[in-house]
């Protein structure tokens, strides 16, 4: 007997045919979005990239 495995993050795949054909983030990806240490790093990287884009645009 295979034990039922419920993954909360995957529930929306069944809510719509269109949803089932795209990607939905799992637990790790979602946690990283609000992980302060990781987000501070991303904040710095995004800012550097944005400053370069601004610089290239002027």
């Amino acid at each position: 007997m295979i034990e039922k495995k419920v993954v909360k993050e995957e529930a929306n795949f069944q809510k719509s045919e269109a949803f089932s054909r795209t990607m939905i983030p799992g637990t790790f990806a979602r946690k990283m979005r609000t992980c302060l240490i990781w987000q501070f790093i991303r904040f710095a990287i995004i800012n550097v990239k944005m400053i370069i884009v601004v610089g290239k645009s002027h």
């Binding site: 269109a18 949803f19 990607m23 939905i24 979005r33 609000t34 302060l36 370069i52 645009s57």
Partner: protein
């Protein structure tokens, strides 16, 4: 002493006027003509529209700022242009009608040496029956976040809907575009995720059905034909990025849709395959299509030359290639560089007010002949950069003479940064931070995706919220001309 008249006090007009006033000093006059008494940081209207900010936090009075900058401020709207003067004078002038300053309704002919048209758009609600009130204003069936006042109204309606859900009544939310030729999908995109976030915060998300309706042929088009970005070692389309966001948050989508009619609690639409349908709603925020503000132009003899100065959609013609023809012939070089009017060299357009040469997205229409495609975005960062380049050109023309080099700012050579929040919290909620370079794809320089994928990216996270907060305070600080304002880039 030369006089520069700037029509409009939004991002493009304000940037043009303030830089021109700084560079020209008191030797020349800069006049701003805008019907509004307040400057509005429009990106933050999204937060006003969900009750997270007040109108006062996203606006400020223009008069004291212009007084500080030495700019003559006329609270009025432009009615017509006479670039050749009239029968009694050779001097170019613009006719304006006051909307404030205790002169409401008064007409004045304002002479100019140079003029910059930065009026922004007319919010053309009446293009869709029922979306407008038939008198040029928003109708009663939907809400909008295009102005701060609209956003305040939207916030009140949202609170009413939340109260109904708390009382046990299920609500249907419909957010997107109100016409097949709309632009500004990004604003609606940000608003729908803020709505979803607010409903979760209020504990009523399970009582709400949320649906996106848009004229994009695929999710993530954003009026730019979509973008490609590097994610996890792949280069992927924004289609996948956007679909993932909607699926994660249980938001259904209806795309390739021209909203043809709006009634109380119901929209009618036509899809790209020609089929027609209806969608019911309890709360709808539908962006209206944009048009030029309807300024007329007259020759010296009084004959109407509006068609010479303006494109049929009311936006001003500039140095773009308007004869590019079919989609297959489009090139990055079709896009304007100096924003100078080809007929009258003392006339420029900046921001949304210039007529783009063609769409950026692939043109589409239904089998019935209804065009259903997003029009090009020209807001935010491009507006500011164009405004500054035009200010530079006009200042050089005034100080160095007619042979001065004109400054260039092609949208095919400039990028744009966009942060779409999903909430406002510093430690909660997540935003989509995106940059695109260049805005208009250049397949000759970047044959694969049309853009530089080192600088075209998007990611979701709390960092985007921090950037959105910083941009809010930074740009309002800059627009108020506080110390060091010129150091803050557009």
């Amino acid at each position: 002493m030369a006089r520069l008249v700037v029509l409009g006090g939004g991002v493009a007009g304000h940037t043009t006027a303030t830089f021109a006033a700084k560079w020209l000093g008191s030797a020349h006059e800069v006049v701003v003509v805008t019907p509004n008494a307040k400057w509005n940081w429009i990106p933050s209207n999204i937060w006003v529209g969900v009750g997270e900010m007040t109108k006062e936090e996203v606006t400020f009075d223009l008069a004291p700022v212009y007084a500080k900058a030495g700019i003559t401020y006329k609270q009025a709207k432009a009615v017509s242009l006479n670039p050749e003067g009239n029968e009694s004078s050779d001097k170019s002038f613009v006719s304006i009608e006051y909307t404030g300053q205790d002169k409401t309704g008064t007409i004045e002919n304002l002479e100019y040496d140079y003029i910059v048209n930065a009026t922004g758009p007319k919010l053309n609600f009446d293009a869709t029956p029922g979306l407008g009130d038939g008198k040029g204003q928003m109708g009663n069936h939907t809400v909008s976040v295009c102005t701060a006042d609209h956003a305040v109204h939207a916030s009140h309606k949202l609170q009413e809907a939340i109260e109904k859900m708390k009382g046990g009544t299920r609500q249907k939310f419909l957010i997107g575009t109100g016409h097949g030729m709309c632009t500004c999908q990004g604003a609606a995109f940000e608003y729908i995720f803020n709505i979803e976030n607010e409903l979760r915060k209020a504990g009523v998300r399970d009582m709400a059905d949320i649906k996106w309706i848009s004229n994009e042929s695929f999710l993530g088009d954003f009026g730019m034909g979509g973008i490609h970005m590097k994610v996890g070692g792949y280069v992927v389309s924004s289609k996948l990025f956007a679909e993932s966001l909607y699926a994660e948050r249980n938001i259904e989508w209806l795309i390739g849709a021209h909203t043809s009619k709006v009634e109380n609690g119901k929209v009618e639409y036509e899809l790209l395959d020609g089929s027609k349908g209806e969608e019911e709603f309890d709360f709808a925020m539908l962006i209206p299509p944009f048009a030029g503000v309807g300024i007329k132009a007259f020759a010296k003899d009084g004959s109407d030359i509006t068609g010479t100065v303006f494109a049929p959609n009311g936006f001003m013609k500039v140095d773009a290639n308007y004869g590019a023809g079919a989609y297959e012939n489009w090139k990055a070089s079709d896009w304007p560089r100096t924003y100078q009017n080809p007929t009258y060299s003392n006339m420029f357009a900046a921001g949304i007010a210039f007529a783009p040469p063609h769409l950026i997205s692939k043109p589409m229409s239904s089998p019935n002949g209804t065009p259903i495609n997003p029009t090009p975005p020209r807001t935010g960062m491009p507006s500011g950069i164009i405004g500054k380049a035009v200010a530079h050109s006009v200042c050089d023309l005034i100080t160095k003479g007619d042979s001065a080099h004109l400054h260039e700012a092609s949208m095919a050579e400039m990028g744009a940064a966009c942060v779409a929040s999903a909430g406002k919290g510093v430690f909660s909620g997540t935003a989509a931070a995106m940059t695109v370079y260049p805005v208009v794809p250049d397949f000759e320089t970047f044959p694969g995706t049309g853009r530089d994928t080192d600088y075209t990216f998007g990611e979701i996270g709390l960092a985007g919220h921090w950037i959105k907060h910083i941009l809010h305070f930074l740009f309002i600080y800059k627009a108020k001309l506080n110390p060091g304002w010129t150091l803050i880039p557009e």
